[in-house]
Amino acid sequence: MKRLPLLAALLAACGQTEPGTDPGGLPPRDGADGAPVAGDHEPAPCADERDWFVRELYRPVLAVQCIGCHTEGGTAAATRLNLVPETEPGWEEASFAAVRRVVRAELAGEPLLLLKPSLRHPDGHTGGRLVPEGSAAYGALEAFVERVRDPACAPDVEDGVVACDDVRPGRPLLRRLTPDEYDRTVRDLFGLEADYGDGFAADPVVDGFRNRAEALTVSPLLADQLRVAAEDVARRVAASPAALGACATRPDAGEACVRDLLGGFGTRVFRRPLTSEEINEYAALYAADGGTFAAGLELVLSAMLQSPHFLYRAELGDADGGLSPYETATALAYLVTGTTPDDALLAAAAAGALDAADGREAQARRLMAQPAHRERVRRFVTAWLDLDRLAAVPKDTATFPELTPAVREAMRRELDAFVDHAVFSGTGRLPELLTAGYTFVDDTLATFYGLTDDGRVTPQAGERAGLLTLGATLTVHSRPNDTSPIHRGKLVRERLLCQAIPPPPPGVVADPPPFVPGQRVRDRYAAHSQVQPCEGCHRLMDPIGFAFERFDGVGRWRDDVEDAAGEIVGSASSDGAVEGAAALGAHLGASAEVHDCFAREAFRFAYGIGEDAGTRCMLRAVQDEFRAGDLAVEALFVALARSPQLERRVVDEAPPPDPAPDAGPPDAGPAPDAAPPLPDLVVADTVESTWETGACHQVTVRNDGPSAVAWAVELDVGGTLTQHWECQPAGEAGVVTFRGAEWNADLAPGGETGFGFCVSR
């Protein structure tokens, strides 16, 4: 750790260091994106206002300490400060505008930007005192306030909300079939039972769902699993191929039959007609095998089931972005039924009936009458509330010996029956899903719950709250041997209010409250919901969870609980006190915030994308339609089917560059224009580590001159460069001139940066 004392010395020499003020545990960093230093914020030319913001405030302070909560989906999303992460388009402009707004919002002449994080605002700050007065970060905030208030330096950025007069769809996509879609597709194509997907490598979870298009890839393990599944399906189908086409069962079936099948049944497999070239290639695969008809057919099927045209759903569009009719049909089929398009839908595509929203709606409504749609809705609800874990969620068998696998299975059926009823036999509206007083139990579950009847039951009034009080929900979102107000509150906060809770901060003893017989649960949890820094987040979860306390850790009603008083705080429009889960369900079911969140979750699940600056208006339109449709789940699916996402894609990319090699290898010798080190640069070269055949260096560069410089440093590296970072070297051995990387090439007066390299010798 040689570098750190050096850096500290440099900072101390400038009289600028402020050690120990950073509550985020920032490691000391050199470089232009390092922790800001109080007093180091000389006014710079106004032209670089935005750059200054990013360099001095956004990256070192806001992106580290604030964005965890102050961003869309964060716990502080509803406040004035809504930051956009760097991974999102338009982040810089939006974040800049948001922070300026918080400067202009004042209390007694002081901007909220300074009052809130320093905990000087009379209403406090949910996150606590994150930026104490006098700290380096506070200095950066002050400097920004000064710049914003300087009329000579007002940048031409308009504050305000983006208007949604242009609803744009997302980008072109490939969407690999999920394990569930794979099985359902195989079932519907071939009429076979299929449970291959259960064994596929689990896909990444993004925003709570496992179907995010960008994360669905084919790993080596999955490629192997897909091969095994394809071979097995092909073997089963080739053994009795009648369903593929009449010719397949004739004794003289040969290549001509294979071509027939490719032209006919192949359309179902690829969800579009095969091109003649594709038919030729598959026929050639058949012919080259030289075995029996069945063996050759098996080979062709195996290849088709491993083909990208089967495994990926294309939503690519043409040069102008328009989806092909078959791409639209496929997107519509999986959206509404979670499986491959049926013949009628493919025919509608061929007839051009899906080009307009009305045509899509007609087909969507037809598909919504099918059992597959019910399964799709159940699938969405299950994924939304994370109930897939029911079968395996660990439980303490000593505490809950009655929770047998049969009971878990009965809870699964309860969930399915409830969703089916509420959506397709009841009002079909979201509020019913969150408020219904009834549920469905079989013998097993009735006994488990202590109910006397089975079938549709309505336990005592004010007990049940639809989805929230199903056995599956309460069992999954609990601890192995107890309830959990935290988990239950987190579920509501994240999945019904669409606010992400950041993980616990480091250095906190997160001992779960021990069970003490007779102690009230809220008293047990009081410790970490009243103490900083736990309180900031736990007040958002635990009080909601208390409302569920009349249900034990496996979903059984219990009377011996003193109270089930819960409360929602810190939401955009859903704050309020409730007594019991049913009241909580009623409260949530009436909340516009929850309605919007539900539509957002459906949007993510349906399209396999997250909303960003480009698609935000499309989401807004879906939310509006859902509300206009009286919060009916049916209206939501219709809105998703009518949306431009099923019609076209945004195309703004320049033609893909030729895969030609880049400009060539770096210069082998010193660059011809190598500049000598500038006199005002202070350079410290530290050998970070060294071994027999090499060494690594870390170098700090500080500009002590009066003006900004594009720095360059010459060093004898004592060997041959093998690696470098945060710099661009000219040369690779001997005396090498280093210049900054794109982002740290320029050093303001007093500015400092760092770079490093390794050599072999």
Binding site: V64, R171, G208, P220, A223, E281, D386, N481
Partner: protein
């Protein structure tokens, strides 16, 4: 608690750590991969993960003379029979990283920056030494996937953001290792008909992937690039010699159902360890990993007499004596599994060489956090073992002073005979730890 909703930002950037530590790294014309030709080091690498940090007071060995002892009742005590094979590392920090997700993401990668570009050490080493093997690397899991793939549940990365999932089902793993393999004694020059048919399918699919890729916008192409790479690996694995007939090869097929059931956890682990060792004995791979559950593991260790989930146990404060006792019991159980793995490796001869499999293997036992109660990643407990073909000086308790774990990862590369100067984010540390490679 299960965090089922990493935001897009966390998914792409790995959260705070990535924001802090994303140095611009370029490479010169010099080869990016470490050199391995004529390497002197362990022939194989086995990486083992167990979750939820530790309680140092119950984990630390007791220095005694020049060596150390494992105190009665301590977490590592079950490893006492092989104490002289161990290198216990105390004082390894994941600099600038904290919490479950951060630790899990950094553990084997050293962060997303640097020349290794976010690859985990198993994948990096496999990229250098595993290319000719049936499986360049083999990822094996024990109940890792109930929460899907995320920074909580994955530890292997091909590069930043690209997770390598493990096989959790022993029956499926057995089929993968010994199912579609070429028959014993078959001549690679005259492949059997089944293999020829599979190859023709792979060729066909490859042509389709390439043609489709040309029509894609650039941002979608990496998906098909990854798919093509997976096909290449599959083709190799189908063609390569599965090593049947060697000692321990093939093993008995696992007889196990319900690999997702909480109480089957020990049985699944046993079966997966057997298959891991068999894969090495059969020469099917040289780099393999065994991931027990995942960070925030909720498994209830009923077999050690507790009713609380492992994660909850890992948070018991010192005053909660009984809670800590139960956590230590669970952790001792993991030590016993490490002992079992070591003994299995010692029980089989080195194929075509001297000694046992163990003598030529480097086994690394990693965790994602230090003190689990504090959610921090300081003094994360690591244990190295295995003969490592003579590269590892064993029987040591090494106390380090806040050593950045990037240096430990470089050290592991050294023990494998690789000469890369950095691993992961070089701004935290470069070069090896003299105490480990010395």
């Amino acid at each position: 608690m299960p965090d089922r909703s990493p935001t897009r930002r966390q998914f792409v950037g790995g959260g705070l750590a990535a924001l802090l530590a994303a140095p611009f790294v370029a490479q010169l014309a010099a080869p990016a991969k470490a050199r391995a030709q004529g390497r002197v080091g362990a022939r194989r690498l086995v990486v083992v993960f167990t979750p939820n940090g530790t309680v140092h007071r119950h984990w630390r060995p007791v220095p005694r003379g020049g060596g150390f002892e494992l105190a009665p009742g301590s977490i590592l005590e079950p490893l006492a029979p092989v104490r002289d094979d161990l290198v216990v590392l105390d004082g390894v920090d994941y600099v600038g990283v904290s919490n479950h997700e951060g630790g899990m993401a950094a553990m084997l990668t050293g962060g997303a920056g640097g020349a290794t570009q976010g690859a985990s050490i198993d994948q990096y080493v496999a990229g250098v030494i595993g290319g000719d093997d049936r499986f360049p690397s083999l990822e094996i899991g024990v109940q890792t996937s109930a929460w899907g793939g995320s920074t909580q549940t994955r530890m292997s990365y091909r590069r930043a953001g690209e997770m390598v999932p493990p096989e959790d089902d022993p029956a499926a793993l057995y089929r993968r290792l010994f199912g579609a393999a070429r028959a014993a004694g078959g001549d690679p020059a005259t492949p059997d008909r089944a293999l020829l048919r599979r190859r023709s399918v792979i060729d066909h699919v490859r042509r389709e992937l390439r043609a489709l890729s040309r029509r894609l916008p650039s941002e979608e192409r990496p998906k098909l690039d990854a798919h093509l790479a997976s096909l290449r690996q599959m083709e190799t694995s189908l063609s390569a010699d599965p090593g049947l007939g060697r000692a321990g090869c093939p093993p008995a097929a696992p007889d196990l159902r319900g690999h997702l059931d909480n109480d089957r956890f020990p049985h699944v682990g046993e079966a997966q360890m057997d298959l891991l060792v068999a894969a090495l004995a059969c020469g099917q791979t040289r780099v393999t990993s065994l991931q027990w559950a995942h960070t925030i593991a909720p498994q209830v260790f009923s077999w050690t007499g507790t009713g609380e989930g492992h994660h909850a146990l890992s948070h018991m404060a010192d005053e909660n004596v009984e809670g800590v006792r139960q956590f230590v019991a669970a952790e001792r159980w993991f030590s016993a599994q490490m002992l079992a793995l070591i003994e299995k490796l010692k029980a089989l001869p080195e194929p075509g060489g001297e000694g046992t499999l163990f003598d030529h293997t480097l086994v690394v036992w990693a965790k994602e956090m230090g003190d689990s109660r504090l959610h921090d990643c300081q003094s994360v407990p690591w244990v190295l073992t295995g003969g490592a073909s003579g590269a590892l000086r064993r029987g040591r308790y090494v106390r380090l002073d806040h050593a950045p774990h990037q240096k430990l990862l470089v050290s592991i590369c050294r023990l494998m005979g690789l000469d890369n100067p950095t691993f992961g984010d070089p701004s935290h540390g470069t070069g090896p730890l003299a105490e480990v490679v010395g």
